[in-house]
């Protein structure tokens, strides 16, 4: 009896040893720095010699007067509101179409839609920057078609620069999300569709009343991931528009980078306060998303 308990205790200990390295690393590399970020956000001064801010929450009070950060936050939400819904709907539609067993060349289509994921974020940002350059292919194409009469300065105008970022994001991530929906659809019995066809439901009805509800958990998850990703946008802002023209397309992560490690004097304290705000936003939006997604009708 006691021998058996001994063995069990030994096994439990082994279990703890197995998960220890990963757990310790996450505590040191994620949780501890998060606490540190909060502490730094209450301080001022340069890296080597930081002192407590007076009043303690001064860095946070400054945020509301910071026009650039408010623009960055606005941009992030603009990208979020326009890009995420378009991308997710497109991804579900594509998954639904590609899940049809009667469709020919399914594998080829799937590979092509998924292909933008093979290109790194920096690379695709530079490809789009070149395509939408003043002398770029998009302008010369539109000129040849006679749609425009002179080159549009896509990346030098705030509205079009934002649009290019949104187009880029949709291009890069639609196929990625589609893969999740395809995996989700594979768990839905094909007979459910056959049955609905017999009941006389057309394509749209099947889509809204069968596909979307059954995919709900996957939709919630992809939405959380997309929101999380959009709030942390960095590579595109840096490489596609460099935040310009005059910081009107900058994202929160890019601005925090500029303040801390990018250029000039490192404002670690203030940058950390902004970073902490991003952290809170991610948490709030994920929470809302889970509540909305959890609702049963």
């Amino acid at each position: 009896m006691s021998k058996e308990r001994n063995i069990q205790a030994k096994q439990q200990r082994a279990g703890w040893l197995f998960l220890a390295p990963a757990t310790i690393l996450i505590f040191i590399m994620s949780f501890y720095p998060m606490v540190q970020a909060f502490i730094i956000s209450l301080k001022k001064g340069s890296s080597a010699n930081m002192q407590w801010q007076e009043p303690l929450f001064h860095n946070y009070a400054r945020i509301l007067q910071d026009k650039t950060f408010l623009t960055a936050m606005g941009n992030t939400f603009l990208y979020l509101i326009i890009e995420v819904p378009i991308m997710l709907v497109l991804a579900i539609l594509l998954a639904q179409i590609l899940n049809n067993k009667d469709l020919k060349f399914r594998g080829l289509f799937r590979t092509m839609v998924f292909m933008p994921c093979a290109v790194s974020l920096v690379s695709y940002a530079l490809i789009f920057k070149s395509l939408f350059a003043t002398q770029g292919l998009i302008n010369s194409g539109l000129m040849n078609l006679g749609i425009i009469s002179e080159n549009i300065n896509w990346l030098g105008t705030t509205a079009t620069a934002r649009a290019v970022i949104i187009i880029g994001l949709i291009w890069r991530w639609t196929g990625y999300n589609m893969v999740f929906y395809l995996a989700g659809l594979q768990n839905i019995e094909y007979s459910v569709y056959e049955a609905s066809k017999i009941d006389g439901a057309n394509g749209w009805k099947t889509f809204w009343y069968i596909t979307v509800p059954l995919l709900r958990p996957v939709i919630v998850m992809t939405a959380i991931m997309s929101i999380n990703g959009t709030l942390q946008l960095f590579d595109e802002s840096v490489n596609l528009t460099n935040g310009g023209p005059s910081n009107t397309t900058i994202t929160m992560s890019h601005y925090i980078w500029n303040l801390s490690l990018g250029q000039g004097v490192a404002k670690f304290g203030y940058a950390s306060a902004l970073a902490f705000v991003v952290f809170i936003l991610v948490g709030i939006l994920a929470f809302i998303n889970m509540k909305v997604g959890d609702k049963r009708d």
Binding site: A14, P21, K104, A118, S123, V179
Partner: protein
């Protein structure tokens, strides 16, 4: 005979109904593939040819390549070294990450009790922490331990991620527990069971995890730019980003750089697409 005829006409009716789907797919596929195709052609053309809208392959590839070699030396390191850096960081991160995370996934799932489940739920919270939020403290940590511009600085924040642990944990559900009992009776230690039973049986999960970790590490940009301050430690992403920073951009050269930067991930994509797709969806099952 009539039966097959009916079937044929039936399937052609189905195909006819699918015409809108085909048209939609062709448009989407064109948009998806064209920028990549354009990048390939631009890498073979002169900057002038690119700017006048040439979209077919040219003869300037060798020149662009030579210019890329020179530019990379101008940026601080020869192209081969920068490529090697990227491979080294991504390779080391991949090996360590899948080892540490699979060990944890194994521990969390096959030795689970209520305490471990609670700990796992806490670890999942780390998914909500944005990279930019820990950037400054981690940068200071690396700097304090004199790790800047080393492999360690690149990999340390990336070798244990909740996503990977979750992926291994979920996939461990299919692991036959009876085998463990049998192995124990044969006198195998718990660690030996991991190496000799778990790892071989889970090899498809390992493949998917490796592909996704390698891709993410290869494509990383913000963190490497923060900690790899020596030019000799630069990655491909950093090199390519630098190429577009001048007043006049040589598009042929830039796209040649983008091509080199994308080549490894493209090859992985085409050869291991199934594993890649499994890797990104791996933790959802």
């Amino acid at each position: 005979m009539t039966k097959t005829k009916k079937k044929v006409s039936n399937s052609s009716a189905i195909q006819r109904r699918l015409i809108p789907s085909y048209i939609f797919l062709i448009i989407v596929c064109f948009i998806s593939v064209f920028p990549i195709y354009w990048m390939l052609t631009a890498a073979t053309n002169t900057s002038y040819e690119v700017s006048v809208g040439k979209i077919w392959f040219g003869t300037n590839a060798w020149n662009n390549f030579q210019n890329l070699l020179q530019q990379s030396i101008g940026s601080g390191a020869p192209l081969a070294n920068i490529m090697w850096n990227s491979f080294k960081y991504a390779g080391v991160q991949t090996v360590l990450c899948i080892f540490i995370c699979s060990l944890a996934g194994y521990g969390f799932e096959l030795y689970h009790d209520s305490k471990k489940d609670k700990l796992f739920a806490i670890l999942l919270l780390a998914m909500m922490i944005p990279g930019v939020a820990t950037l400054i403290p981690l940068f200071r940590m690396m700097s304090a331990f004199h790790l800047l511009s080393t492999v360690a600085a690149f990999i340390l924040p990336g070798i244990s991620t909740p996503f990977m642990i979750m992926m291994f944990r979920q996939n461990s559900r299919n692991f036959p527990v009876d085998i463990m009992e049998a192995a124990r009776i044969d006198g195998l230690s718990e660690l030996a069971i991991f190496f000799r039973m778990y790892m071989p049986i889970m090899k498809s999960t390992y493949a998917a995890a490796a592909v996704i970790t390698f891709m993410n590490a290869w494509n990383a940009y913000m963190w490497p730019r923060a900690v790899l301050s020596d030019n000799s430690a630069m990655t491909m992403q950093m090199l390519v980003a630098n190429l577009s920073n001048g007043y006049t951009v040589d598009y042929g050269l830039l796209m040649m750089g983008v091509l080199f930067c994308s080549l490894p991930t493209m090859i992985i994509f085409f050869v291991l697409q199934k594993q890649f797709a499994e890797g990104i969806t791996g933790a959802v099952k």
